[in-house]
Symmetry: C2
């Protein structure tokens, strides 16, 4: 999963209800939800985690498969129509990984995480993956090492000014600032022959908190596994882009699969990294490149320090196991509410993903209990326990690609969770669902304070906005919170299983979790992400696991039981309008930066101001930024606003008078409206799998969302022709969205 | 001295001129300055430093006195009328200093700086001061230790929210963010019984650069000595505020001297600090409290870690030795141009203060050479080599207090230097001198680039303004630089010998130095501030020492030879106007902050948003901020602008037609104009020594300047009555300044 803010320390006991019996005639939503809540048991959820996180759970491990089978059995026992659906995916398993410092002195990186005293789970090292990242290249290289800070595009610009070239060298980058997979990808693009990624204690270690087991932070020997598949091209099985990895699927040859990197990559601990970084010569790094290893950081790149790295993997196809559980809708069986969380982990995976998985299980069990009393959901519920999320969303992607047509017909929404922590509700998703999410938050109680999670979020937003250094967005959210307006949803990028639904198929999605207090990031993707760590530091008593189940359970139930659409399209239109403002401001800011830089180069200011000992010359000149024709996009946003206003207004006025059939058709239409955001050919640069013109993971941010990505990234990346093309394509998508809203107005008997 | 940005690494060789013979008839300034430059010899200056920095030079040391006597002899040899003027000042010498960790395990802090291999000077440890700060209290205390971050007011607010009280405890604060002496002063005010100050490697150590001798940064055993006298009350001898510490002066009893602290204070190295900080329990610190020692920083305050500290000093009066050298003016002997640099150091003092002292010596020698050819300065030059600057400006303060009446009659300006480094010209001073300073900078050549130091400054300012994160002032300076307008002068606070002249007597002052590249801060006030360190890392070849002499030498010569006043009062008026805008904005911002905080407290937002494990409740409510009557100040600034405009315009128009006598009277008047900024009773709160209503060191910034301090600090510190009072007093001072300008206009035959 994506690393989110997950958190430590104990909580106040959650006020659990004794389980009441649900009347078969219960029809009011509050009664239904009260009955639903009564079956949520944090202690039981803790027990599930303990069992599921007892052994290594990576793809291909015996215990990961066992968890799928156990989950299947439980869903069945709870009354669900469940089965396991398998796919055959390319998944590399390490045969050999090694990393040695060869010059100036020999040191062999440990690449293993020794057991932690007092954490029994961490001693179950049999079958555990070593230091490894999936979908790197095999290789055996020896070369000088270069420290590249976070290994992001700006870092390479700084290296260029220092006169350092990474060509033929092994780069060492610290985790943070951008998605893991971009670091080796950019290193490879710059000619590096290998890439080491380490967890610097400034960002992820003793500098943050006491290290495990005294505190929650990453200990010196802990490292972060992960995937480095080139996800910004497409997620899922590298051999089957766009289609399900079924037995009969047409597959690419491995060497032709563009998402597999060519160079070897290894993640290491800061205990190991100290030996490599401490041996390096060359320039002392700029201030913002400094970490917290107790050395003076140098850029390296000289023959003073060399490393030898070997990575070899076994590249056969592996079977993965998705659990698919359905409960058919009593009134609208062809309208589906999807709910998912993955079950595979990098090692034991207590926080990631089991802390979210147990919330999903608790919902499924409770809904099963409700169903035993005679209640049935109006719409079909589909619960999904994914395999192979960690290597790059393989389980969900292959399933979504396989069932694309049916999903586009039936799915109203996909609700995702992954790791969960303690603190504040965080929701990302389609902006038309902003009001829906805010209403759910009002009805869920925060276990630490006893107020609603909505009220606690507002308090947090208001205080954050009042802090010195708060940015404009934080201030705006604080103001919305204080004024009683909805807290906005953040847009979805990537990093968990919602991606295929939202960005490939155009199905609305939400990603939900609690966090902000304490921290489980310190064991993220390590062998120390255990039941012991989670129950001590992240969510003691599993109080927030219960709260998450009550939150996502309400979302599922309200989507299922909705009478008229829950969407409020004015929110979407307003937000898209601010995105367009941002994109226009971006073009202006880039133009100003180019003009300013050109003047500094022309007057020799860079040369004159440079310390002769620190840099090797002025920066590479920026490209001249033309003026763009934003008019088609501007016009489409004006139209979207008008259509959204008409829809929202008509719905408010006509809802009481609509027929049941009209309402049902209206909900179905709302489910498809978001699909209007997708267009062919999708994003440029080999990224056609991403068809959503409003939300995408960034080419150079990875998990981080880029909104209006076709236009925004074209401007950022100086592809001026693409900017013009995608103004048109994005305007087309927005107009298509407005068309859908207009259809809704007509369906309600209004005039569009 | 004040720690300024001083810097490391080698430089391009300075292009030195062969010495021409000055014609006795030379009258043009360019010819005079060319002749002046010809006598500046960096190698000779390096020789002076080597000798002066050969042994420890603290107050009371034999070598410090020897340096005074040698300087006297040299001035005399160069043709100056020189003498040594002594004072008897209270100056504590350490008898015993010790610091031990007693719980949880024993550790005795080293408190000594062992010699550095390859640095011969650093081995001359005989007579060297141990870890010590001057004007702390004697004491012998054992108590739990509390980490207070930088020990500034906001840090105590954060501690309060964590529920930590320092009463009865020993605080440990890191250097930085505010002046050294404020840390124990605030600790004492909060009830602490002792104070440890250490150099954190994040701010001052291996995190910044390779440590000495490999690089310029502070090694693990290096610490920063200094003064902790409560300088914001008054500098100089604690026993003789406002009067010279002559033999017959009336003295306070030591126990009544308000600038002497009551609690013991010790500075330690980060090597020692690691043992204390690593032993502490309690909360993990907030993110902005983290340093770079490789531990998890805790706040402490519990019995888990205790320390025992002992400080005992010998408190007799000591004799200090100022060298005063005069060259009488040929035309206006009663108009004085003062030029000074101190000669005492904390240990060897190569960078601080000798690197500036050798520039002053080179000027004196060159002027002496010019005088030997028959040239004489028009006005009297007074060169001043101060003693006892380090304990808190004792030499300059006692001299200025002793000669106050004569100085107020005769002094036109005081030009100060202290430590000097490599890089960019930095000048602080009275804003009416902005144009004067900018013109000097145009005529001095930067040794690394061969362009003028003005051009290099502009390049630096333009590039700094273009960096991401540049603040508004940096952007404004960059724009001024790009537009060819004058680079503004920063206002003077305190931290070197200009303070008495500017802030007590109202004599215009400039403080001049080069810096910005490399760094000598890593040996600041340590036994490693040696000739070896300075000549290797700070100013190789003494190129910038020569450049400084050429810069300040020009300032001296131009002040001496000026025909009509060099001041441009419009610059002062414009700058004061922006200060008034800032003060008004400050009141508004505080009002907004109070309103916002009150709302957060009232709605319970702090309580609800707090992590129950991290804080102990909402912050202390801010005081309600009234509206102030700024009208008197606003009106005075409007008047100042008008008077300044009239003066500058009249001078430009009439200068060619004025008689020699009128010109001389005009220059004399300009010298006194700045005195109008001083008023009785000076600043409130026991700070009446500070009489300048425009420039002062801040009560809670120490060296950092506060402009319009009577009003600004009253608002900052929530003394509402003082704010009203000082609006009036400051307006009075500004009106008096305008009166002086009006007199000048009348003197020129214009109408005011």
């Amino acid at each position: 999963m994506r690393k989110t803010v997950l958190f430590a320390a104990s909580v106040l006991a959650a006020g659990l209800l004794a389980a009441p019996v649900l009347s078969q005639q219960t029809s009011s939503l509050p009664d239904l939800e009260k009955a639903f809540d009564s079956h949520i048991s944090p202690p039981e959820m803790g027990g599930w985690m303990k069992k599921m996180a007892a052994e290594p759970n990576h793809v291909g491990s015996a215990h990961d498969r066992l968890n799928a089978e156990d989950t299947l059995a439980q869903f069945k026992a709870w009354g669900w129509d469940a089965h396991i659906e398998t796919f055959k995916v390319l998944y590399p398993t390490p045969i050999k990984v090694s990393l040695d410092l060869t010059t100036p002195k020999k040191f062999a990186a440990t690449l293993t995480e020794r057991p932690i005293p007092g954490d029994a789970t961490s001693s179950r090292t049999k079958d555990e993956l070593p230091a490894y990242v999936a979908f790197q290249g095999d290789g055996d290289v020896t070369a000088p090492i270069v420290y590249v800070n976070y290994g992001m595009p700006d870092d390479y610009k700084a290296l260029e000014r220092m006169g350092i070239d990474v060509k033929g060298k092994i780069v060492i980058a610290r985790y943070g600032q951008g998605w893991r997979g971009l670091k080796p990808k950019l290193a490879q693009d710059h000619g590096a022959v290998g890439c080491i990624i380490y967890s610097d204690p400034r960002d992820d270690g003793f500098s943050q908190d006491d290290v495990y087991p005294k505190g929650a932070a990453r200990p010196p020997q802990g490292f972060q596994r992960g995937s480095v598949a080139d996800m910004p091209l497409y997620p899922g099985d590298p051999l089957t882009p766009g289609v399900g990895a079924t037995d009969g699927a047409t597959r690419l040859l491995r060497e032709d699969a563009p998402t597999i990197l060519k160079i070897p990559v290894l993640p290491i601990s800061y205990g190991d990294a100290e030996k490599f970084l401490g041996a390096m010569g060359g320039n002392v790094v700029p201030p913002n490149w400094r970490g917290s290893i107790p050395i003076t950081y140098h850029v390296g790149g000289t023959d003073a320090a060399k490393a030898h790295m070997v990575v070899k993997s076994e590249w056969s196809l592996k079977t993965i196991y998705n659990v698919v559980a359905k409960m058919e809708g009593s009134l609208y069986p062809d309208q589906w509410v999807l709910r998912g969380n993955h079950h595979d982990g990098w090692v034991f995976g207590a926080s990631d993903p089991i802390s979210g998985h147990i919330a999903m299980m608790a919902e499924a069990k409770s809904i099963g209990e409700l169903a035993k009393t005679g209640w049935k959901p109006k719409r079909t519920l589909v619960y999904l326990s994914w395999d192979a999320e960690e290597p790059m969303l393989l389980g969900s992607t292959e399933w979504a690609e396989t069932h694309a047509d049916e999903l586009k017909q039936k799915a109203l929404i996909y609700i995702n969770t992954d790791g969960n922590g303690r603190g504040f509700l965080g929701v990302e998703g389609n902006h038309a669902l902003q009001s829906f999410v805010n209403k759910v938050a009002v009805d869920v109680t925060d276990p630490q304070t006893g107020v609603s999670v909505d009220k606690r979020s507002r308090a947090g937003a208001m205080v954050a906005a009042a802090l010195g250094g708060a940015n404009e967005r934080t201030k705006a959210i604080g103001k919305a919170a204080a004024d009683g307006k909805d807290i906005p949803l953040d847009p979805l990028g990537s990093g968990s299983d919602y991606s295929s639904f939202l960005q490939h198929l155009g199905i609305a999605a939400l990603n939900v979790g609690y966090g902000g207090e304490g921290d489980s990031g310190g064991v993220y993707h390590s062998a120390y992400d255990t039941y012991e760590h989670h129950s001590t530091f992240v969510d003691p008593g599993f109080a927030y696991a219960g709260t998450l189940a009550k939150t996502t359970g309400r979302m599922v139930l309200r989507m299922s039981e909705q009478d008229t659409p829950v969407e409020r399209y004015g929110d979407f239109a307003d937000t898209v309008s601010t995105y367009l403002d941002e994109v226009k401001a971006l073009a202006g800011a880039k133009r100003e930066a180019q003009t300013a830089q050109a003047k500094l180069i022309e007057t020799g200011a860079y040369k004159l101001s440079d310390d002769p000992k620190q840099t090797s010359g002025p920066p590479t000149p920026l490209k001249v930024v033309p003026f763009f024709n934003f008019a088609p996009l501007e016009n489409s946003v004006v139209r979207l606003k008008a259509s959204a206003a008409a829809y929202d207004k008509t719905l408010a006025a006509k809802a009481p008078t609509l027929s049941a059939d009209a309402k049902a058709r209206l909900v179905a239409l709302a489910g498809k409206t978001e699909q209007a955001m997708t267009t062919e050919p999708g994003l440029p640069g080999g990224r056609g799998w991403y068809r959503n013109m409003v939300y995408a993971p960034g080419r150079f941010t990875g998990y981080g969302a880029k909104t209006l990505p076709g236009v925004r990234e074209a401007i950022e990346d100086e592809r001026w022709d693409d900017a013009e093309t995608y103004v048109g394509l994005t305007a087309k998508a927005i107009n298509a969205y407005a068309d859908m809203l207009d259809k809704g107005v007509v369906l309600m008997g209004g005039t569009s």
